[in-house]
């Protein structure tokens, strides 16, 4: 019968709105307002999952994020793995499956593990699967014990959002204490951010029949929510979990169902002056043999299903407790028509007020459970005196347990605030705050309503802790952590093997890990360790509470940053032209996307690169050099500042002239290379490599602010104020003349390494004669507003000269042919200028500059250096992989170098390479050997220049 366990009336569900869903392929019906768990229970589904390791049948134990037993995988548009069944809102068309079982939880082939359970205790993986390699076994073990897979496709529609918020007070939890705190703060005019994980405000009041000042407690909730909704200074979110407490009161909130349809989930990063932790308390499980059987549930969850969702999880029930809270549960169960066969109370005495609530029900005091009958569903329990004895069997299909309550201190602990063990409550409670936060309500250890709000009426708590049933004759595994299949015997084993710190016990057994993070079982693990070691719980302590408090979608954390937006990206005015003209775009450092090469139809990378290089070597090419870092420096002390940060002298430059230079770091290694031009007496322009522009800027500012605060140097970044089209090749001058400029381009009037201002194509321009290709080259800088027009003009008038756009692949080839260094290739964080054959850039005239002392110290120590050389394979058609090692004789020995670059030279019509080789400068003409995995390539060591070694072309 459909919904056979649904009560005829009651519950906070909409019975006028039936909802159809499937679970493990079977169709069911529930109501709007149900969770998947409540709907399954309403339909009498008992076995909903299999356990992680032993594949034991499991049912639903909880009703919220504490649920340890049943995780589900959602299909279709809800696709998501490992969701606690109790946190999945029911909606029409929902499709869910159990995890950890095949083909179904009712008949699971993995259940065979139960036969070997005694041979696979905690830690057996690590002891057993050591040889030959853990990774050999890991995939199949993970598959056998694995949880659901991540969805294979992105959501069909909608997107995730992450946003920021600020508040005077953030309140986590909209139960009675949280609502009261929000009301107080809101009335005081504070900016309040109230977030609660439930779909409705009220917390525990949603499940209980309590009163406030003689009225139903939910009426008080409704009034409070209504008042808050009228306050403009209050943000109130439901279905939004505060899942992380970071430094400086930064709280992370996951809002699972924002009111905008296009937004799947929203992540809030809230910075609050004060945090109020009103997260309530979590009921604990009780530990006895076979305490994981379907039908064993938390008492408060039974109450929630009965009252909130109108579901009776069983017809005949036994309750097992060590505190007063189940007596109120029993009242509600009886009212719902559940036959309460008995209450087993481990305490020797029960307060009369509690007994009065359940007159007519058999209460066995000083009694515990010594056994459970039934495998796929509870059929009965054996009630035994806690002092021992044979006991009696009581038939039931539902066992509601309460091991007491633990304040939900996860956020408190995440804030690094301290905990203390409260003997009266038998629980860890908030102690000293380490950030601006306070706990209120049950989270602070105030476990009854009368302690939380004025007029609240509740039964006293009255716990006598019991960390596990300890009577003889028990059968079956007694689970401490149901989700991870960690039993009492596993903790005992860990302790026997010396893992006696609670953190070690956690890692040895995996107790307290996983989706539920041990919400119902951690305290029992600690108690078991305490019992075994004879220590008070305070001395055993807790493990570290880590975020997230409940599972969070990666999408919600990422927000907009997915697919194309994962990393920032930058454009120049020519980016679109490049794309329109077929460029293959590359990340080029500092988040710039530049063209790699421009293939024609049917052309591969190498053919395209050869064509582009040929154009530059024999005709003319042009590339967009805008991303190069550019800075204007102003001030009287700029000359001596540049002399300090560059290894060569810059202060001697005359206005209009420039010089190539190296910047060293304090340890004498190469930080960057670039050129510096003197614009006038006090104004300078320097350029840096694209990828290091920001780092060089920081480097300069740091020096000025820490080392030379009294120097007058003012730096302005102008990378994006001046874009450049670099025209290069033997015909560059002709093309630039055709473009049109009022600058005298004659070699003697505008020589290499000089700077001129004027107009180009009618635009204000700064033209610089530098060359990264080894050819005649003009870097034409114009404002970005003019760049696209300049580019079009260059391409138009360059067409008769055969001009081609050049990508970064060709730039790489051209610079290797010329032996120009590249950061990240030849400059690898180990070499200095001398190693690169650039000792000429290390000034002997300056008394000091950054890195000088380090270089001298390092080199005065002697020793072998890796030096830049050219390499030519005997076979000209043999390409050598970049990064390949060079070893003596090609033998399997310590390397004496590596290949930094290898390109097809259009000048020599063969592969040429650069390498860093020990004592390389002295080994020119010798044969070295590149060692590959299956081969050795003999190479001739040469000078690291393959084209125009005298530099006549670039100076032409």
């Amino acid at each position: 019968m459909a919904q056979s366990n649904r009560r005829a009336a009651g519950g906070r569900i909409d019975r006028n709105r039936p909802v159809r869903f499937t679970f493990n392929g079977k169709s069911f019906e529930g109501f709007e307002g149900d969770t998947l768990a409540s709907a399954l229970l309403a339909n009498g589904v008992r076995v909903t999952a299999r356990s992680f390791k032993y594949h034991r049948p499991r049912g639903i134990m909880g009703h919220g994020p504490e649920e340890p037993a049943t995780l589900v995988e959602l299909d279709g548009e809800d696709a998501s793995g490992n969701c606690p069944v109790t946190t999945v809102p029911l909606r029409d068309g929902l499709s869910a499956r159990s995890v950890n079982c095949w083909p179904s939880p009712d008949f699971d082939l993995g259940g065979i593990n139960q036969l070997f359970a005694r041979f696979i205790p905690a830690g057996f993986y690590y002891k057993t699967f050591k040889w030959p390699n853990w990774h050999l076994f890991e995939p199949s073990i993970r598959k056998a014990a694995g949880l659901a897979a991540a969805p294979s496709a992105p959501p069909a529609q909608g997107h995730f959002e992450a946003r920021n918020a600020h508040a005077d007070v953030l309140i986590a939890g909209a139960g009675p204490a949280g609502l009261q705190a929000a009301l107080d703060a809101g009335r005081a005019g504070k900016r309040v951010f109230l977030a609660d994980e439930g779909t409705e405000a009220g917390g525990s009041l949603l499940s209980r029949n309590l009163t406030v000042g003689g009225r139903a407690a939910m009426d008080w909730v409704a009034d409070t929510v209504a008042e808050l909704s009228k306050m403009e200074n209050v943000i109130h979110l439901q279905n939004a979990t505060v899942w992380a407490y970071r430094e400086h009161n930064l709280m992370i909130v996951n809002e699972r169902a924002p009111d905008q349809n296009s937004i799947l989930e929203r992540s809030w990063r809230v910075r609050a002056d004060e945090v109020v932790i009103a997260t309530g308390a979590t009921e604990r499980a009780l530990v006895f043999g076979d305490n994981d059987r379907p039908g064993v549930m938390l008492a408060s969850s039974v109450q929630a299903y009965v009252n909130r969702w109108g579901v009776t999880p069983g017809k005949h029930a036994v309750l097992f407790t060590n505190n007063n809270s189940v007596y109120e549960v029993a009242v509600d169960m009886i009212a719902a028509g559940i036959a309460v066969e008995a209450i087993l109370d481990s305490r020797n005495e029960v307060p009369q007020a509690a007994l009065d609530l359940v007159s007519g029900v058999t209460v066995h005091t000083g009694t515990v459970i010594g056994g459970v009958r039934g495998r796929k569903s509870v059929r009965g329990v054996r009630a035994v005196p806690k002092t021992g004895g044979s006991g009696v069997w009581i038939d039931c299909e539902l066992l509601a347990c309460s091991g007491g309550w633990s304040p939900t201190v996860h956020l408190w602990s995440q804030s690094r605030s301290t905990l203390r063990f409260d003997d009266d409550l038998a629980a860890f409670c908030p102690d000293q705050p380490k950030q601006a936060c306070r706990a209120v309500g049950a989270a602070a250890g105030n476990l009854t309503l009368d302690q939380i709000i004025e007029g609240g009426e509740d039964l006293s708590y009255g716990i006598e802790p019991m960390w596990r049933v300890d009577v003889s004759g028990q059968r079956g595994k007694a689970f401490l952590d149901v989700q991870n299949d960690v039993a009492v015997s596993d903790v005992h084993l860990a302790l026997r093997e010396g893992y006696d710190n609670v953190e070690h016990v956690k890692r040895y057994t995996t107790g307290g890990m996983g989706i539920d993070q041990g919400k119902t079982g951690n305290i029992n693990i600690i108690g078991t360790v305490a019992m075994q070691k004879g220590l008070p719980l305070q001395e055993v302590g807790t493990t570290t509470f880590r975020s997230p408090y409940t599972p969070v979608s990666f999408g919600a954390i990422g927000g907009l940053r997915e697919n194309w937006g994962l990393f920032p990206y930058r454009h120049t005015p020519v980016t679109q032209w490049n794309k329109d003209n077929g460029a293959v775009m590359y990340e080029a450092g500092a988040r710039w996307r530049r063209p790699g090469y421009f293939p024609k139809a049917g052309e591969g990378l190498q053919e395209a690169v050869n064509r582009e290089c040929q154009a530059v070597r024999t005709g003319v090419g042009v590339y967009d050099g805008s991303p190069l870092g550019t800075f204007e420096l102003k001030g009287r002390d700029v000359p001596r500042f540049l002399d300090f940060i560059y290894s060569n002298i810059m202060s001697s430059l005359k206005p209009g002239d420039g010089r190539y230079g190296l910047m060293l770091s304090e340890d004498g290694l190469i930080l960057d290379d670039g050129v510096a031009f003197r614009l006038d007496e006090n104004r300078w322009l320097i350029s840096t490599s694209t990828g290091h522009a920001d780092a060089v800027n920081q480097h300069m500012e740091k020096l000025l602010q820490t080392e030379f605060p009294d120097w007058q140097v003012m730096i302005t970044t102008v990378t994006s104020q001046w874009n450049n089209a670099t025209i290069c090749g033997p015909k560059a001058r002709e093309v630039l003349q055709a473009v049109g400029s009022d600058i005298d381009l004659a070699p003697e009037a505008f020589p290499f390494m000089s700077f001129r201002e004027g107009t180009v194509a009618g635009f204000p321009a700064r033209v610089v004669r530098v060359s990264f290709t080894g050819e005649l080259s003009y870097e034409v800088n114009v404002a970005p507003r003019h760049m696209a027009a300049l580019w079009d003009k260059v391409m138009e008038v360059g067409a008769p000269f055969g001009i081609l756009p050049v990508g970064s692949e060709s730039s790489h080839v051209l610079r290797v042919e010329k032996g120009f260094l590249s950061l990240g290739h030849e400059v690898d964080g180990t070499v200095d200028a001398y190693d690169l054959g650039m000792g000429w850039a290390m000034s002997n005239k300056k008394p000091d500059y950054l890195g000088k002392r380090s270089v001298e110290l390092r080199r005065s120590g002697g020793g072998t250096r890796r030096e830049l050389v050219g390499i030519l394979a005997d076979d000209p058609n043999r390409q050598i992989p970049e990064g390949a090692p060079l070893t003596p004789g090609g033998r399997k020995e310590a390397t004496d170098g590596l290949v930094t670059a290898c390109v097809w030279s259009v000048v020599h019509n063969r592969w040429v390479g650069l390498a860093l080789l020990e004592d390389g400068h002295a080994r020119q003409g010798e044969t070295a050997h590149v060692r590959l995995k299956d081969d050795v390539i003999p190479v001739t060591v040469t000078k690291p220049v393959f084209h125009d070694p005298e530099g006549k072309l670039l100076r032409s």
């Binding site: 001030g635 990378t719 970005p784």
Partner: protein, 165 residues
């Protein structure tokens, strides 16, 4: 659009970066600029020219693009004394305006700074982050205005479209 906002990617504006001792800058600029804002994260305005406090001895002035040449003529960046720096940076920043009832919500997606009007007033201006990028943020009529380095403008526009889809 899921938010009630209007997003405008603004055209170029005249921008000049100014550095130096306040007295020296004021003396050189004369009445070409509003009075210097001395309070951090604030701005001053005179006619259509604004002056933003960027840091100690550092300001950016903004004016309509049509005034760019006139401002350059008055500020004379290439002729100013050695102890101050004036650089035209009009092309380095792209401004966006987010206006409308939900402007605050959209900005909360983009920016971690508290832009509540009780904290970030009408004369406030500050460098902070927008979509993880360095950005200059200020109030404008009915919303917020911010500028990012112009090479990131396409990306920011893509993000805003995505955020408000």
């Amino acid at each position: 659009m899921s938010y009630d906002v209007t997003i405008e990617r603004c055209g170029l504006m005249a921008l000049f970066d100014l550095k130096g001792a306040p007295d020296a800058v004021s003396k050189w600029a004369g009445d070409a600029l509003p009075s210097l804002p001395y309070r951090p994260n604030s701005r001053t305005e005179k006619d259509s020219i604004e002056l933003f406090y960027i840091g100690r001895d550092h300001w950016i002035t903004r004016a309509p693009l049509a005034q760019e040449n006139a401002m350059e003529a008055r500020l004379m960046p290439t002729d100013c004394p050695a102890d101050i720096s004036i650089v035209r940076v009009s092309d380095t920043m792209t401004f966006f305006r987010i206006v409308g009832p939900d402007a605050g919500q959209v900005m909360s997606i983009a920016c971690p700074m508290d832009l509540h009007d009780s904290v970030f007033g009408t004369d406030a201006v500050s460098y902070t982050e927008v979509f993880g990028l360095k950005a200059l943020v200020m109030r404008c009529q009915d919303g917020i205005e911010f500028a990012v380095e112009q090479s990131f403008a396409d990306m920011v526009e893509d993000y805003l479209i995505r955020a408000t889809a």
